[in-house]
């Protein structure tokens, strides 16, 4: 009986013919787009994590503390809460980094009669605090310290970062929903085609005593095969695109997102994509109704 069902499924696939091919291609496109979005999403998530790591709030100090007092100061700053890491920057270090930042115009620094820059502590907020509100509160808490003259940075940058992430999540949800819809529509359409090509046959099969299982299971199988095939091609295409583009893109990625390499889907994620394809195909196979034709 099993060989019979598989035989019927193969017959259905053949019957779908050129249109079946279109269906597989459309599924491929849908899944490739979904996969591409996923890939970008993964890499953007990595970038967001890195950005959050790099988020800094700088507290300028009234006076440069004596070397032996630095540890005590750092402990005090740490105690305000919501802080992941604290780094002390002396007046000398500050001037050095200004010199580096000025580049071609660094000669300016050499002509200064004395170092005008204050000492500071660079504070990295912890994950929970790396939000616009969290940072704003952190700035307030730092400003309240007696040793601190002025607190800079953080808030707006985090604000913009958070906005990007929100936008990204929104786009992701929209794109994902649209593509999932397209994929389901496609499989259903393709299966409806097969079903329609088969409608008279199904009627006759019922009349000669075939059970619904014998009639329906091959449809589900062919839908699954279409979905799986589409997913496989999509995955292959993604891998190829990644292999081809990643080396060219990495300089740009480093420049703009600060990522050193573009990650690909992990093995479980790839399996999920394949399983999703097969499941989608099977769903299309089950959902399709030949009855929609007058």
């Amino acid at each position: 009986m099993f060989s019979f069902l598989v035989g019927e499924a193969v017959r259905d696939l053949r019957r779908a013919g050129r249109v079946g091919l279109s269906a597989v291609l459309l599924i491929t496109l849908s899944l490739a787009a979904l996969g591409a979005f996923w890939l970008v999403s993964i890499n953007l998530e990595r970038a967001v994590t890195q950005w959050r790591e790099r988020l800094r709030v700088v507290a300028y100090l009234r006076d440069e503390p004596r070397p032996e007092a630095v540890a005590e100061l750092v402990r005090k700053v740490q105690a305000v809460g919501g802080i992941q890491r604290v780094r002390y920057v002396s007046k000398g270090e500050a001037l050095e980094s200004l010199k580096r930042a000025l580049g071609a115009q660094s000669s300016v620094v050499d002509q200064l009669p004395r170092n005008p820059l204050p000492a500071s502590v660079e504070v990295t907020p912890d994950e929970a605090t790396a939000t616009p509100e969290g940072t704003r509160e952190l700035v307030q808490r730092l400003t309240a310290l007696r040793e601190v003259e002025e607190v800079q940075g953080g808030a707006e940058w985090v604000e913009s970062l958070a906005q990007w992430r929100r936008l990204f999540q929104l786009t992701g949800l929209a794109v994902g929903a649209v593509l999932a819809l397209a994929a389901i529509l496609t499989v259903t359409t393709a299966t409806t085609l097969v079903l329609h090509a088969r409608r008279d046959e199904m009627e006759i099969m019922r009349l000669v005593g075939a059970t619904e299982r014998v009639i329906r299971l091959p449809l589900l199988l062919q839908g699954m095969v279409q979905g799986l095939l589409g997913a496989l091609i999509a995955l292959g295409g993604l891998e190829a695109a990644h292999a081809l583009l990643a080396p060219r893109l990495e300089p740009l990625l480093t420049l703009t997102l600060g990522l050193s390499r573009a990650a690909f889907l992990s093995a479980p994620e790839m399996l999920l994509l394949l399983g999703g394809g097969a499941g989608l195909g099977a769903l299309g196979g089950v959902l399709a109704k030949g009855r929609s034709f007058a």
Partner: protein
């Protein structure tokens, strides 16, 4: 084998609901050979469709081969149909399969052991004189050949009940006589037969119990 009690069938066709059958009651015992006669549009095909549960009666009760067709659940319809062989008036062959595959399909659906399928299918095709056309597709058959293929499919599973709707409508006299001989032979081997025809002469010639329909009413039951 067949038992009908005050059966009526109204087709719901918009404003005018046509009565295709009105107050039909009769019964057919196991092993009988009954002819269903009546002019075109009398309701013969409708009556047969009620018997294999392709349609449900608007009123009345029907029992076939031990199944109560009014209460029969959808999932159990295939069981009913497996015990009935049907020769459709319009053949109803699977267009994408050869004549041989059409006949073999019934056996595969029934779960017949692989080794038995081919010989039994060929035997049925030989009985209706179609073994030479076994590899032809339905579109490549003459109407008479299609009707014989339909008969071969109906008898291949040796059903308990054979419903034949105008099985000789597209056949010439010689071929028709042969086919009737064949159906009689199947009947003598124990199958109950209900044969519908609009040819009064044919009904008379068979000399069997004849139910006569006229405009959906059973007007005669004799012989």
């Amino acid at each position: 084998m067949i038992w009908l009690h005050h059966v009526a069938k109204l087709y719901d066709t918009g404003p005018v609901a046509l009565p295709a059958l009105t107050d039909v009651s009769f019964s057919v015992d196991k092993g009988e050979f009954v002819v269903l006669s009546g002019p075109s549009g009398a309701g013969k095909t409708t009556l047969l469709r009620l018997l294999y549960r392709d349609e449900r009666p608007s009123e009345g009760e029907i029992e076939v081969a031990g199944f109560d067709l009014v209460t029969l659940r959808r999932s159990r319809i295939p069981l009913l149909r497996r015990s009935i062989g049907i020769v459709f008036q319009d053949a109803k062959l699977l267009a994408g399969r050869t004549v041989f595959e059409n006949v073999a399909f019934v056996l595969r659906v029934l779960g017949t052991p692989r080794g038995e399928i081919t010989p039994r299918a060929f035997q049925a095709l030989k009985a209706v004189g179609l073994s030479a056309r076994a590899q032809a597709y339905p579109a490549q058959l003459s109407q008479g050949e299609a009707q014989r293929a339909s008969l071969a499919r109906a008898i291949v599973k040796a059903p308990a009940l054979l419903l034949a709707d105008e099985p000789t409508g597209n056949l010439d006299e010689d071929m028709a006589a042969e086919i009737l001989e064949l159906i009689k032979e199947i009947w003598t081997r124990g199958t109950t037969v209900l044969l519908a025809t609009h040819r009064g002469a044919l009904a008379a010639q068979l000399k069997r119990r004849t139910l006569t329909l006229r405009a959906g009413r059973l007007v005669k039951d004799e012989g």
